[in-house]
Amino acid sequence: MNSPARGAISRLEGIVSGGALTSDPEKLVGYTIDGLTPSAAVRPSSPEEIVEIVKFAGSENLAIVACGARTKIGIGLAPRHYDIAIDATRLNRVVAYDPGDLTLSVEPGVPICNLQRSLNEHGQFLPHGAPFMTRATVGGTFASGVEGPLRQMYGTARDFVLGMEFVTGDGVAGKSGGRVVKNVTGYDLHKLLIGSLGTLGIITKINLRTFPSPQPVRGFAAHFAHAADALACRDSVATSALRPITFDILSSHVADLFSGDAARRIEPNELPDGLLSRNGWTLATGFSGNDDVLDRCENELRAMAESAGGTHFARIGDDKTPSAVAAAFGRVREFVPIALESSAACTIMKLSVLPEHLEHAIAAAMHAADDHSLPWAAVARGIGVIYVALLPDARDEKFMKCVAGATNRIHEDCARLGGNSTIPWCPGEWKSALNVWGPERPDLPLMRKIKSVFDPQGILAPGRFVGGI
């Protein structure tokens, strides 16, 4: 830490309430991002305090990274500067919950699983099956823009976040949207904040739509020799009347990952027997509805799987074994944390393509990994998203080059398909050698404009976002 920053930190102590600031190097290690450790971490207890901290940081030209439980703090490029961590975990109130209206207003530090438990008491839930579920906060989940298998039915954060409050880089308490389910008043600024990695504002409140828990639910697994067969089954379902709530296709390597030692450390850690194919691809899908609906879904899905070349079809669980269904879908949801836990050098690419191009994108990823002798595992969602985990044996220079070669090729192939590709997770020291945000987009200049409006001084997580924003 340079000495001007040290002096500033002591002045910062004067503006935050007692005990909310730490500059103890041992504690600060936990806030390290890609080898950078801040000079201080602050745990504010009100949005007003955040305004004061941000204004202070602005006046001293100190860089801030906001965080929650820090489960996804590694996403994005390394920050160019990092002086203060604003830890939002003390902003952890459910401000309002109106079960009768199915709306909710929460502070960012609420752990997402606690929230799910409270909603569950009213037969409701937040349809955001995002990874790191047992530890993640609501704020971090939305700020990082992660998504999950439930998007098949419910969409992503942009579809159910109703409004937000936030503090911009120049200390303005901003707001957009509202608390009701339909609203076109003013610009939808909250859509910009979703997935912005804290580069536009520090979220202080999130208004959400809740949903009735889908019950009962039945889960199914079908095995296929090739990804193409599983995708043919996807196409049949997509043109049928069936409306699955999740629809994921898993490579054979996922079976190894899910049954490995590392996976046992990630909850939920019980995997139903026979769920995953070890020599082909597995389709894991779920439906909800009454028995008549579920019976019909089961029969039609089985027929579709068979005609697509399915080699095995089984019910994962049903309303009599809800924990089996929850465990199976929990595993699929936690693919990223499990892969990260399995290899210190794990590098995960996220691709999004038109559903029609899933097959090509998967094949491209597979060939790029194989050609660079990298073990890999992949999960593809039916709506057109693929996560490819590259699992090198060691976190060293040699493997970094292999990973750079493979990921560059995947970026190119994905761009040729008109899709998007990024590397949300990789070892921090590899970020300068990898193309973390993928090929440059034509709308990058507009994103820079947005950044300059929200954070004119560039003190919010500088450099983490696309194009080094």
């Binding site: 109106d98 079960p99 009768g100 209206d101 199915l102 037969g123 409701q124 998504e147 969409g155 942009r158 579809d159 308490a173 901003g174 707001k175 957009s176 509202g178 608390r179 009701v180 389910v181 339909k182 609203n183 076109v184 008043t185 003013g186 610009y187 939808d188 600024l189 859509k191 910009l192 979703i194 912005s196 009735p212 997509a238 043109t239 009347a241 509805g289 009454n290 008549d292 609906v293 019909r296 879904c297 996220k350 999004s352 038109l354 559903p355 029609e356 709506i383 057109g384 998203v385 008109g418 998007n420 034509p442 709308d443 507009l446 994103m447 404009k449 947005i450 409006v453 929200f454 194009g467």
Partner: protein, 479 residues
Amino acid sequence: MDAKLLGELQKLLGSDNVLHKAEDLLLYEYDGSVEIGRPDCVVFPQNTEQVVGIVALANRFQTPLVGRGAGTGLSGGALARTGGILTVFSRMNRILQVDAKNQRASVQPGVVNSDLSAAVAHLGLHFAPDPSSQKACTIGGNVSENSGGPHTLAYGVTTNHVLGMQVVLPTGELVRIGGSAVDATGYDLTGLFVGSEGTLGLVTEITVKLTRLPEETKTLLAIFDRVEDATETVAELTARGITPAACEMLDGWSLRAIEAYIHAGYPVDSAAVLLIDVDGLREAAAAQVQKVGEVCRAHNAREVRAAKDSKERDLLWKGRKNAFAAVGRLSPCYYVQDGVIPRTKLPATLRRIEEIGKKYGFEIGNIFHAGDGNLHPIVPFDPRDKDQFRRAVAASDEIIEYCVAAGGTITGEHGVGMEKDRLMPLMFSEAELELMKRVRNAFNPAGLLNPEKIFPSKKGCGEIHSRPLRGAPSEVSVA
């Protein structure tokens, strides 16, 4: 207007595509709201290059520029409030691509909403947002206003169905934002542009999601003798997590107006009806019909009638979708609000609207998206009676203030435009509005694109109230 600018526009577009005579402009000085704004000229671009050219000319001549689709908007969003060039997209109305396999379509902004659904129906698909004006309104307009409609209850509003677009920025640059795949990398610019009411750019191409048509749709008409029972039914359906595809309420006053015009088969002696669509798999729809029926009957529904065939269903919906036209036959002018409230507050809010009506001497009608809590109270007034007009605005304002106090908002789907700019401070602080303005200015630095919309001007409320309104004395009558 500047003769030189007019000449340049005629050169760019051909004189057939430029209107500038007073009698021609008259048609374009209004939309579906009570506002007026007269452009200096109206232009009809036929391709993106021409739109780029129009923007360049607006910049060169420092002339205001406003985009417009079919002019069905309900908040003055597509009116040339400060004059200038009104760019009408009705001749850019081609469906560029239908991609059934990926459930996508690319369209020009002037494509009429229901034309897209009609064009893909044979593929078992549709474009889900369905504003009541869908037979006239354009997808470009839907994007600008983030339009809703009855079936957005289950299917979401426009923003949930738009993935990307091509935009001409006010500075003249042509850019593509978002894409056809989901999760475009970076900030969600598409999410910002949808609903920005034409203040950030002129959209020239839109990529939308197409939604599979449900296997089964059942339409129910639940008939009530008390408004309260209908609103309680909606609150309970919501609380029990029963989400129909659509759940519309029409009160007795509206029913009688519609029935006289459309003959949709509505019970004219009832206090309110709920028009409910239930859809999905056959088995799921059947179960939901039963559940909905139970809740209606538990709240004293006199009758829950199921449309026996698609003909009867279409007729019931025709009544709803033409409701405002029907009201127009009863009253020379009416003021429609668009407030939203938490669904738990529906019964109390409808009671309050009735009280407000009594206070100001109106019978206020209600035709609205009950399932979303999106109210459309209709205050009929005679524009020749200045006092009545003032009372109509006052009554509407009081309803909106009540919605905001109940935790709701001032507009659910019609937009802020010219009509509700003065109400924005009810929702946002000065600092919050200033931040939104900074976003606008980043894209629209000279303020030439759709000026004086969304954000309140510095003038006092009284002064704004006296602005010329359509239908007011000395203005064109629409009766």
